[in-house]
């Protein structure tokens, strides 16, 4: 046996030497043929235990190692889940508090560059495309880079320290109670980054019903693409009221959105396991590694990789969609009317455009949720990628507005024809709840089709997933509005 640490490159030289000499070693016996079922694993561990008992002499084992002392709290029946909640609350609070100065700096930089480019280019379509399409659209998403970096920095820290394995252990009991295999934890955890690798990680689950139930609920975990939507709405409409030391209302709202997705995922999984996907629950074996200090280099590499992915998306999917949406919001041109002010003319142009007409056509469908056509269009566009919701808002308000104010300021001051504000804290919360539940991601649908069996069967499960999530999103957003208004919120 050769001990190695892949992230630090330790033990690689002896491993390399061993591989060169491996050809001369005897072939493994059939006793260790791969069979991943839990029962076989248990039998194998029992056999290993017996062999170790007969052959290894140990000093009396102390339960007082540093890891044991930490685990006495981290894995406590009551203290463990509480500690987990406290850690997550601090993470989400840090996402807001620490990112704010960096976000402001990026926002100012994007606005300044957009303003400068606008001065250099002559008045016309090209100038509008660059300023209102590219800078307003892509720029409004780019400002969330610090939040992404901070969130994934913390997730990396928790993973590398060994705490995430404890979180899996804490979740295992809960997941077994709702009928999910313990192995479902890793796909669901991956879902916080992106549902696509989460769904693909379900390949480690042997039982088809366990696997399908996990696939169907993984997209309910709040992925990183939802982060710009939450951050924009919370930062704009939720006040930073201090709740307890170290946590304000903004951080608590963010934590609530993540919890809402997770709790609902477990509830829906239980529902599927009791109806369409009934079957026995299997045990899971989980090894808890000792706690260790994270390696700064590998932590930085993992954060940088997430940032690269985010920047690549901003430069490809979001850029091209911003340009297309700008064109849809700009053409056909509305006839000029000398009696209108510049602002009225821009608003009339937006309503006259292809995007405006489409938005007005779908407005009745989103009106019960308190949304106007601009939110409706942004929701539909975000089917390509959820961050596109933010870039579409940026483009719409870029084309429809005169000054180059930040998107958050535009949303705060937007009013309808009667002069009432379009966005209120209640609408913002409803919209966030909609995004917690709605499957607005075509990549996820494609991977569900493939992983759920492909062909007609794959499409059937993908359709079930899309429809139940959309229905849940619509009903929940509507309930937030109705209950909120009944309680006197605006």
């Amino acid at each position: 046996m050769i001990p190695t640490v892949a992230s630090r490159g330790e033990g690689l030289a002896p491993l390399r030497n061993a591989l060169f000499t491996a050809a001369a070693l005897p072939a493994p016996t059939s006793r260790f043929a791969i069979d991943a079922s839990a029962e076989t694993s248990l039998a194998r561990h029992k056999w290993i235990g017996e062999v170790v008992e007969r052959t290894v002499t140990r000093r009396a084992r102390s339960l007082d190692t540093p890891s044991d002392r930490v685990d006495a709290i981290a894995l406590h029946r009551v203290g463990g889940p509480l500690l987990f909640l406290v850690i997550m609350a601090l993470v989400f609070q840090a996402v807001f508090s620490w990112a704010a100065p960096l976000q402001d700096a990026i926002e100012s930089l994007v606005l300044a560059i957009g303003h400068r480019v606008g001065e250099v280019l002559p008045e016309g379509d090209l100038r509008s495309l660059v300023v209102d399409g590219v800078f307003a659209g892509v720029g409004s998403v780019l400002v969330f880079l610090p939040q992404i970096a901070i969130l994934f920095g913390f997730i990396g820290l928790l993973e590398q320290s060994g705490y995430m394995a404890r979180a899996a252990f804490l979740m295992d009991g809960l997941m077994r109670r709702v009928g999910l295999h313990g192995k479902s934890f890793i796909p669901m955890l991956s879902g916080y980054a992106c549902a696509v690798p989460g769904i693909m990680a379900t390949r480690t689950i042997e039982d088809p019903k366990d696997r399908l139930a996990t696939i169907l609920v993984v997209p309910l975990m709040s992925c990183s693409a939802r982060l710009p939507v939450y951050t924009l709405l919370i930062g704009t409409f939720i006040p930073a009221l201090p709740l307890i030391p170290g946590l304000d209302l903004q951080g608590a709202t963010m934590l609530l959105m993540y919890l809402l997705g997770t709790v609902t995922a477990l509830a829906i999984a239980a529902l599927f396991r009791k109806t369409l996907l009934r079957g026995p629950v299997r045990p899971m074996i989980l090894e808890l590694p000792p706690y260790r200090w994270p390696a700064p280099q590998s932590l930085l590499v993992s954060v940088w990789q997430r940032c690269q992915v985010f920047l690549r998306r901003a430069g490809t999917v979001i850029l091209s969609l911003s340009i297309v949406l700008w064109a849809l919001a700009t053409y056909p041109r509305a006839p000029a009317d000398a009696t209108r002010t510049a602002e009225q003319q821009q608003e009339a142009q937006l309503v006259h455009s292809a995007l405006g007409r489409f938005g007005k056509a779908i407005e009745p469908a989103v009106a019960p949720l308190g949304y106007d056509w601009k939110i409706g269009v942004s929701i539909v566009a975000s089917f390509a990628a959820r961050e596109v919701f933010v870039s579409t808002m940026g483009t719409i308000y870029g084309v429809g507005g005169e000054d180059d104010a930040a998107l958050a300021d535009r949303l705060r001051t937007e009013t309808d024809s009667s002069g009432a504000p379009v966005y209120t804290p209640l609408i913002a919360v409803g919209l966030m709840v909609f995004y917690v539940y709605a499957l607005m991601c075509m990549s996820t649908i494609a991977v569900t089709v493939r992983e759920a069996g492909g062909g007609r069967i794959g499409w059937r499960w993908a359709t079930i997933q899309f429809v139940y999530m959309l229905a849940l999103a619509y009903a929940a957003a509507w309930l937030v509005l109705v209950i909120g208004r009944a309680l006197g919120f605006s």
Binding site: P197, V317, S320, V324, G454
Partner: protein, 46 residues
């Protein structure tokens, strides 16, 4: 037609082609059974 309008329309056409290409890629990924396929440009997996 003004030059800046021509450039603008050309940029829009390229962007539209990119969006359609992405859509086709996703459809192809859905048709590919299990292993393989172009994967996800969100996370780089697959």
């Amino acid at each position: 037609m003004r030059l800046d309008t021509v450039i603008t329309l050309a940029i829009v056409a390229v962007a539209l082609a990119a969006v359609i290409r992405r859509l086709m890629t996703q459809m192809r990924a859905a048709r590919t059974k299990r292993a393989g396929g172009p994967g996800c440009d969100n996370c780089g997996h697959g």
